[in-house]
Structures are given as structure tokens and as C-alpha cells.
Subunit: 227 residues, 4 copies
């Protein structure tokens, strides 16, 4: 299992038209270019039907937006980890606020991911839930106050204590898990603020995936992380 | 919107290892060969992450195993109709017994499918539910008694009255919807029995998608429908 | 099974503080008083933990706000029909927009309700879904455009065509089902308009259950129906 | 908030006919009698529609089988904590294997319970999930391997390491939470074995709630805990 360095920027493509199908491939290539130019790890999470074509087109890590627990066989319509691996994915988001999961299913998905070498990012909504998620040993926890998602108001500016608090509380139970934050991240200042508060990266969507000019936006976003 | 002729055979790939990733492509090509040889319409429903690569490889209709309602934008992890179209899909199963949906979401998905030219197959579990589904104007309703799914006992042999009853009751409210049956369909005799009872085709999975020799199995299955 | 006459007014208590616990009993008694005074059938739907104490206190029909399918035995935390009957309930709402149900579960609940003599009201969100619900033979279908629920804008004034359209389309498949409408109903004029459009009653909540003076509000609401 | 002493025995009434309606009251009174006779704390969890009548009839703690998150107002059909309090409940099970909850909803329910003085018991299926649950500060965590629920094979005999492992791992993150175990507990020997492994009590259902003679069964169960 290849390591993903931190700080890391994860771009969730959501279901934006500008990040669907062939446009998802183009956006992925933009992300790869910026990642290489600034030497900052960028992970992308396109829609599930787009995973294969995107993973074929780029070498940066491609994550799914969701994974269901379960072993191959039945489960019509479910998105199993084994199939994600076959599609060229190297990881997955879990429990995004738009796709909340049951506690037991999150744990089962994480445990499965360890067996098949998938990185997992459990999205959470507050400090308490972040600590619970960290106890289940995912690769990463990404705390995102739901009321700020898509708001244009950055979590790192509006609720800095949720980031510092999450870092402090998670480290008491898990030394290794990668701690990310998200919600309203829109520019390099937001990213710099998040890193200063102890986050090891950010998870964001609309600022890049719904932008008419994603390349300059993304360049600005990652520039504070450039080595 | 291209027409799909009936009688039709739909092969649900479920999440069988033998029908995942590159193997899904091979199985799809087998299905296409048999469809052409016997001049019987065959529709295939691979896993969602496999849709693009399969749709690239064959010309027979490729359906998704599931579709979520909703318009592009948010909905991280959801499988939207617009994205299915971009992937080369021409239709989708809805409400499979392993992926049951809320009533309102089924209707919203069907209504959306009409706007974007997707065929829809609503899976149902008994006569009453089949009639309700038919009222929402999908392309097709596929009745499958859940206790027979994967059982090896064919619905057309074990519960013929559920097929004839579904046909009779649906026709009172909807003259056009394509009526399929499924569950336990394993060979040509099961298919012939289903057609005799009034079904316009069958939906099946394990007999083909979990077979070591899918080509002869599928050939036997479609032979009663050959023109 | 006692008959419930139409036109009928159903008051959903939701989870309003003014309609919880002992206050639910008081509101139920107010509803009974108004029902008797105006000779208009009023059905009430308190919260599930309040069903027993309310049903003990009044003789008007008490419905649950929800029912799960399933037979006694397992199903910890579920609300089974048999238990509702034991609590003095005579019916239940199903598929309220705040508690949407899977298609197969709605049908299973309706079928169960026939065996144990419970009235069922399937809540729906548009004409198409209403027709589908009517095909499963509940006692009643209540169409409620979700965007008007709790809005103070009455469905009968703002979207009259949804009521007349639902009545017209349902009657083609089901002659007997009681057709109600809801969403934004606030006064007698709204009720009169609904009846004029073909509804056989109304389903409403906040105007009564969140009112400081429910008795005059309810009196005004039912007065157009008084015999 | 009254304290509940440990070791404690929690009886989940599930939806057994022998533990529904008036029979739930009788079973509750039996539990109270045994609790008093042996001086062992017994908590009972009847079905939600039965909570009020049972809480009226006994003085031992009455818990709900489930609680939804959310504040009074909307949420038709949901079971809110405020309403449970009004019904005489002093606590609730959360996330039972037959009523799994989303991670964020479990946390929201626990946080709400602290504000309104409800005891919470989060049911879990393995060690990892138990630790995650403990991080969210419920009153108690009850680990129950799902495959043993209702099996008649006791967790304390068949999988002792899951109990000792849960205790060991939980204590690293939470010193106070009450640790229970469940699944297949049928007699006093099973209870004694559980206590010996570090559990502070047991959660059980069928052995008592589906018994023709619950009093001797329950007496045998609690006798190892008698002071």
C-alpha cells in the first residue's frame, strides 16, 4: 500500500455537472497538473460511475465517494470495496454528510479496507463523532460542520476551535490517524489557517469542482502547502 | 430513445467476482455474442463502478443496478441518472430486493428517467406492489418473490400464479409497461414457462453471472425466445 | 371494524411540545369536543409513546403517526400493528413526508392492517405517487406537496390542480379509497376549497397542534363540514 | 438523575406477544418483584407504545427500545427524547442490532440524553464498535455478537474473549461507562460468567420476555448478582 503524504488536499467532485463523465477526467488531469507543479499531494473523489475512466487517466490517488460493506456475491446495487479496487481506486470517503452510514457499517467498511489496501476517510460532523471514528482506525478522519458545507464560510476561519479540539481529542485515542477538516474551504488562506490549527490537510468540493476556472483556484489553495 | 424489443432477457451481474471488473467486460461480450447468435435482446446490469468500461465494450443495452433520485450538484456518493447517461448506460434497475427504495424516490427516479431517456425496471415482490409500480409508468416491472431469489427454484415453475396474476392485474392499469419475472430462473424451460404465463421476459442473475460456463447456460436460456 | 365517515379531518400532532404527553391528552379532548359539537368526524394522530394515554381518554379514533411492517417476536424498537391495536389505536399514518417508507414496507403494512382491522392513511407527495398508493388498497391516501407542509400556504389554494388531478387519476384505479389532502391547511376556507375540489377530508398539523388556542382554530376549520 | 447501580440486568421485551400491552405490564411487575426480592437492579425495555402504561405500573427503571435524535416540532412518527421523558421513561437503548442507527444520530441522541437526564445504552456488535460507542459518552455500552442474538448460545460461554476484550479496550478511552454484554444469555451461569469476565451486567430478551414462566427464569438469572 503506497503511502499518501501529508499535508494532503482531497477534492470531492460531488455530482457537479462540471465534474461528471469526460469533464471529470479533465478536472482530474487539472488536479494532477497542480499536484505535480506544487509538489502537494492531491487526492480526487469522482462519482462512482466515473471512477474507472478517471483512474485510467491520472496517476494521483482516486478515491470513491462511498463504499458499502459486504463481500462479493449478492448486494445488487451496492458499491463493494473489491469492485473499487478493480476500478483502480485506492481509497474511499465514508459517511459523508450527504451519505451518512450506520455505525456498524462504517466499522465493517474500515475493517474490509485494511484487507484490500484501501485508504478510508471517515467524514464526521463534530469533535465527539470524530473521536469515535478515530477509534475504528480509518486512514483519516475529516471533520466537517454540516452547516458550513457549501456555505463559502470556511471552518478554519468560522469555527477554529472545532479543528483544534478535534486534533486534541483524537490524539488521546489515536496517534496515527490523519486528521483533515472541511466545509467552506475556498482559498489558500483557509488552508493555511487549517494547517496552523493542527489539521493535516483539507477536504473540499465546490470551490474546485464547481468552478469555471479550477486550475487557478486549486493553485491558490495548495500554494501554502508547497515545499 | 432506442426501443428494446420483447421478449427480453436481463442479466443482473450482482457483485459476483466472476462478473466484476475485467471479468464483467468478458461476460458482457459473451452476452452480446449470444444475443446476436440467437437474435434475442439481452440487457446486462453490471456493478456501478463497472458501467463505463462495460458500456465501452459492447453494443447491447447496459443498465445500472440502481439509480438515486436527484439533480446534479450535491449528493456525494449518490448515483444520479445524468451520470449514468454519461457512462453509456441506457437504463437502470430500481428497487431491487437487495436495494429497496422509498416509494417517493422510485417515482422521482422514474420521472427523471423519462427526461433523460433511460429505461427503468422496477423490481417488485408481489402482485400488489407490481401494480403500484406499474402506475408510476416505468418502462418495465419485474416481479420477483424474494424467497426464491438465488434459490435455484424457478418462479415460473413454483409460483406460476404470481406471474399470471401480475400480468392480469397490471394490464388493468397500464397497457404498455413491459412485464418481466425473476427469481430462480435457471434454464430454457423456466424461461419458456414464464413466457407462456404472460411474462415478456425474465430477469436473472446467478445462473449466468456466477457460472463457470456462462455461454452454454445463457444459450440454453434464450433458445426458447429465438426467432 | 367501525366505519369512519367522510368528510373527515385528521389532526397530526407531530412532536409539538403543545401536543406531547399530558398536553396531548388535553388536545385530544379538545378535538373530541369540537367533533361532537359540529358533528364532524375528527381523527387524531399523537406521538407513538402517547397513544395509550390518549386512546384511554377519548372516544374519537386515535391513529399512530407510523407503523412498521413485521410480525411479533423480534424487531426491537419497531412499531408493530399488533401493538398499536393493544394500545387502543384504530389506525395509522404511513409514509409521512417526515417518515418516508420503502414501497414494499408500505404494502406489507397495509396488508397487515387489513388482518388486524387498522385504518391506514398513506401520505403521498404528488399525483403519480398517490395513484400508486391507491393501488395497494389502503383506507385512505393523503396527498401533501412537501414544499407546502408547515408553510402556512394551503394546498387547496396554491395547487388546486394537485387535488383535482389526484381525485381524477385515483378514481380510475380505485373507487373506494378515501382521498384526503394536506399541507398548509389553516382555516375553514382552505377546508371548503379542498372539499370543493373533490377531497373527502384534510390532514393537518401545525394550525391546530402548535396553536395556543386550538379550539377556535379547529372550530373554524371543521365548520364548513358541519351537517 | 437517579443512579442505577451495577451489576444490572436489562430485559428487552422486543415485540414478543407475551410482553405486549397488558402483558407487558404483568411482565414488568414480575421483573420488579424479582428485583426487590434479590436486591438486584433490573431495568426493563418494553415496546414504545407500551412505555406509558408500564412506567405507570412499576418503580424500576423503564427504558425505551429506541430513541430518534431531534427537537420537538416536526419529525412525524419519530420517537423523541422529550416525549420519552413525558412517558415516564428514564433511559433508552440505542442502535440495537434490529434497529441500527447512523453514527451521527447515535451521538446526537446521547448528547440530547445528557440534557434531559436519560440513561443511554448503545448496543454494539464487536470490540471496535464498542470502543467507538464508548467515546461518545453514553451511560452504557452493551456488546452483542449479532450471530448469537436469540441463539440460546451465551456470549459469555461461546465468545468470552469478546467480553474481556471489550472491557480492556473500552477502559483505555473511558473509565466510567457501564459495560454490559448480551446475546444468548439464558441462565444464572451465563450471567456469572459474564460478570467474571468483567461485564457490569447483561442485556437479554427471549429467555425472559418470551418465557411461559418468566419469574423462575429471571430469579435464576439474577441470583448470582444478589447481595
Amino acid at each position: 500500500m503506497v503511502k499518501i503524504e501529508t499535508p494532503v488536499v482531497i477534492i470531492n467532485f460531488k455530482t457537479y455537472t462540471k465534474a461528471t463523465g469526460e469533464k471529470a477526467v479533465l478536472l482530474a488531469q487539472t488536479c494532477e497538473r497542480v499536484s505535480n507543479k506544487y509538489d502537494v499531494p492531491i487526492v480526487i473523489a469522482p462519482q462512482i460511475p466515473d471512477l474507472f475512466r478517471v483512474a485510467k487517466a491520472v496517476e494521483i490517488p482516486v478515491f470513491s465517494q462511498h463504499m458499502d460493506p459486504g463481500e462479493p456475491g449478492r448486494f445488487t446495487g451496492h458499491v463493494l470495496g473489491d469492485t473499487l479496487v478493480e476500478s483502480g481506486c485506492t481509497g474511499t470517503l465514508l459517511n459523508h454528510s450527504e451519505k451518512r452510514m450506520q455505525l456498524a457499517d462504517i466499522e465493517e467498511s474500515i475493517t474490509k479496507s485494511h484487507k484490500i489496501n484501501l485508504f478510508t476517510v471517515v467524514c464526521t460532523n463534530n469533535i465527539q463523532v470524530s473521536v469515535a471514528a478515530a477509534c475504528m482506525n480509518p486512514w483519516s478522519v475529516a471533520v466537517e460542520p454540516p452547516e458550513l458545507i457549501g456555505s463559502g464560510i470556511s471552518v478554519s476561519q468560522a469555527q477554529p476551535e472545532i479543528i483544534s479540539g478535534t486534533v486534541e481529542k483524537i490524539r488521546k485515542v489515536n496517534k496515527k490517524v490523519v486528521i483533515l477538516c472541511g466545509a467552506g474551504i475556498g482559498n489558500g488562506d483557509d488552508v493555511a489557517a487549517a494547517i496552523k490549527l493542527g489539521a493535516q490537510g483539507v477536504l473540499l468540493a465546490s470551490a474546485v469542482a464547481n468552478s469555471d476556472k479550477p486550475e487557478p483556484v486549486l493553485s491558490d489553495l495548495v500554494s501554502p502547502l508547497s515545499k
